[in-house]
């Protein structure tokens, strides 16, 4: 096998600093994780999120669907507006005889699906566009970042409402609305990180010895950008559901769906008559989900960002 001189030098360049770096990164992650666990509030957040994931996974066991689409609330017209702790209905029933506990359990799947899809898609879009903007610079940078400015000027809720009004009320369209809007923050983070790394000596060196743009991008830029993107994602997991449930609360989701915002909206009908449970429980489910992620994000930021670190 023949190797060009540049291949050998680049191999040396890559192996040594990267191995040390990989080790450093592993140490860093370990330190971050341990520090996170020391914060009681963050620990609570992790437990909350883990519980939701478990509930979502075990939904068919916890609340067996009675045939048909499990994401449509099954109705029992014999048990309309039952208060909590009624026989068979721990959290009571809705105005139309749906089991609130069933709705919250199956709704957790929708919540996880919505936030996961939006967070992953916005991360990819943001990282790609922000990376291109920072790396290429010039007018490409200008065009991409001005687009981000324009997007950020429209509140995500307003945009999501507009998208759903245009494309029709469905969970998919709520996801489309949020995914097309929320990538701006990721793009800004990524672009800043790329510009920062671009001027570092070791990147210059890697380029000189013939590393491709892609390899520099993957080895140098992405690992550095991961911590702030991570923080942003944890916060988005909560925020996305807050916005999505607002859209469905307004009435822009298919009726009868076991989505938490839809349930709160249905509960509103009985509220003035004193039936508090219809809105209280599903709304609390949304709150807990967002709270769990927000305390994780808050703790993560404290650990990763020395500026806001408590001393």
């Amino acid at each position: 096998m023949k190797m060009a001189a540049s291949d050998i030098t680049s191999a040396i360049w890559n192996v040594f600093p990267n191995q040390r770096k990989a080790r450093m990164r592993y140490e860093q992650f370990r330190r971050v994780f341990l520090e996170l666990l020391r914060n009681p509030l963050t620990l609570i957040g992790m437990i909350i999120v883990a519980t939701y994931i478990l509930v979502a996974l075990l939904a068919p066991v916890l609340a067996p669907a009675s045939g048909g689409d499990p994401y449509q609330m099954p109705r029992n017209f014999e048990a309309l507006r039952q208060p909590p702790l009624t026989e068979g209905y721990l959290l009571g029933t809705t105005e139309t005889g749906g089991d609130l506990l069933y709705g919250i359990i199956w709704g957790s799947r929708l919540t996880i699906a919505i936030s996961l899809t939006v967070v992953i898609s916005t991360t990819i879009i943001g990282v790609v566009f922000g990376g291109i903007a920072g790396y290429v610079g010039g007018w490409v940078d200008e065009v991409i970042m001005r687009t981000v400015d324009a997007l950020i000027a429209i509140p995500a809720l307003v945009w999501a409402i507009a998208v759903v009004t245009a494309l029709g009320p469905s969970i998919t369209n709520i996801i489309i609305g949020l995914s097309t809007m929320l990538w701006g923050t990721y793009a800004r983070i990524m672009r800043g990180e790329v510009i920062h790394v671009k001027n570092e000596d070791y990147v210059e060196a890697a380029r000189v010895v013939g590393d491709s743009h892609t390899s520099v991008f993957l080895k140098e830029v992405i690992p550095n950008a991961i911590p702030p993107i991570f923080v942003q994602s944890t916060l988005y997991f909560g925020k996305v559901v807050l916005i999505a449930s607002s859209v469905s609360f307004i009435g822009l989701a298919p009726p009868g769906l076991v989505e938490w915002g839809v349930l709160v909206s249905q509960g509103q009908q009985g509220l003035l008559a004193g039936r508090w449970w219809g809105s209280l429980f599903p709304g609390f489910a949304i709150f807990l989900w967002a709270f769990g992620w927000n305390v994780i994000g808050d703790g993560l930021r404290d650990v990763l960002d020395p500026r806001s670190q408590t001393k």
């Binding site: 509030l41 001005r146 687009t147 400015d149 324009a150 000027a153 429209i154 509140p155 995500a156 809720l157 307003v158 945009w159 409402i161 507009a162 998208v163 759903v164 009004t165 245009a166 494309l167 510009i195 909560g238 807050l242 916005i243 449930s245 607002s246 609360f249 307004i250 009435g251 822009l252 915002g261 709160v264 909206s265 509960g267 509103q268 509220l271 003035l272 004193g274 508090w276 809105s279 209280l280 709304g283 609390f284 949304i286 709150f287 967002a290 709270f291 927000n294 305390v295 808050d298 500026r307 806001s308 408590t310 001393k311």
Partner: protein, 337 residues
């Protein structure tokens, strides 16, 4: 880049950004298909449909339609709001005062909460006070505003029977002139204490929901600014000059922490606009938010578009003002890249 160049650059960018927003918004309406269905019914004859097509330039290519639409927007014609039964611009004007009054009271409450909590948390960082403040702030960030609004309606209206929903007692308000449209201001101008009390009474609950939600970010920001400023050299210098700890805190730490916090507070006015949609809906508040929510559920896209254009315009303008002011106030700020 000096401050003047920066301001000019930002002003120049303003126009294409607004154009971009208008294009994106317009494109969204056309993805949904031809808007012809809004103007014709099954009973319309082929001839009538053709007339409508001609009238609204629907036979032309999309970019020509955009041109006509933009021309309308620039001359103040944002289309017809079927929800309000009046032109979109008129609908906005009629409802703006109610929304802004709610927003302003909301931000006053947000400031009161966040300045108190943020100062305490920063001053006593890493004590139980700090932890409670953090819990409250994160709670505010995590609470769905429509849910908080419903809870307050239940507690205040159903349970305690103390607080009303809606805007005001109609009988009392018909006897008062409405020169500004801001009910609290109108009541003061009319010299009616009963009316003023009524206006405040109706404002408290919705403003509380918005204010608490908005306070979270400002609280966290002020806290971290204070914690950071505590370590600064000049603070130690002030201490070593023998100033009392209280004086050092208010005059040297907090005052300097407040400047960057104010910019965050200025921008939070924008985020308020998103809370307003659901909160107005729950409280039956006759403002922009409830109108746009109703427009959305009844497919009245002209209203939704008008609202987006308005909000984006206000947001960009506020951003511009806040950034420029900040650049003037703090010479250390790096402008541009």
């Amino acid at each position: 880049m000096d401050v003047k160049d920066y301001t000019i650059r930002r002003l120049i960018i303003f126009v294409p950004t607004m154009l971009l927003i208008s294009i994106v918004t317009f494109a969204l309406t056309r993805i949904a298909g031809s808007p012809i269905a809004m103007y014709v019914s099954r009973l319309s004859s082929e001839e009538q449909i053709q007339q409508v097509r001609e009238l609204y330039h629907l036979n032309d290519p999309v970019w020509v339609q955009y041109y006509y639409w933009l021309q309308g927007v620039l001359t103040g014609d944002l289309g017809w709001s079927s929800t309000a039964g009046q032109p979109v611009l008129d609908a906005i004007f009629v409802r703006a005062a109610a929304s802004f009054e709610l927003a302003i009271v909301g931000i006053i409450i947000a400031m009161a909460i966040s300045l108190t909590l943020g100062t305490l948390a920063g001053r006593y960082s890493d004590t139980w006070i700090d932890h409670v403040s953090r819990g409250l702030a994160v709670g505010g960030m995590s609470t769905p505003q429509f849910w908080a609004a419903l809870l307050l309606v239940f507690i205040g209206y159903v349970w305690l029977g103390m607080f009303p929903v809606g805007r005001a007692e109609t009988v009392m308000w018909e006897s008062i002139a409405h020169p500004t449209g801001f009910y609290t201001v109108d009541a003061i101008l009319a010299g009616s204490f009963a009316a003023f009390r009524d206006a405040i009474w109706h404002l408290i609950l919705p403003a509380l929901v918005i204010g608490y939600a908005e306070s979270a970010v400002i609280t966290r920001h002020l806290r971290s600014e204070i914690v950071e400023k505590k370590q600064e050299e000049y603070v130690n210098a002030a201490r070593s000059r023998g100033l009392r700890e209280g004086t050092v805190f208010t005059k040297h730490i907090r005052r300097n922490a407040l400047i960057p916090t104010m910019t965050v507070a200025g921008l939070s006015f924008i985020f308020l606009m998103r809370g307003i949609i659901v909160v107005e809906l729950v409280f039956g508040w006759p403002g922009l938010g409830r109108w746009v929510a109703n427009a959305a559920t009844s497919g009245d896209f002209a209203s939704v578009m008008g609202f987006i254009i308005l909000i984006a315009f206000i947001t960009l303008l506020l951003n511009l003002i806040v950034d420029t002011m900040y650049a003037y106030l703090d010479p250390r700020v790096e402008l541009g890249e």
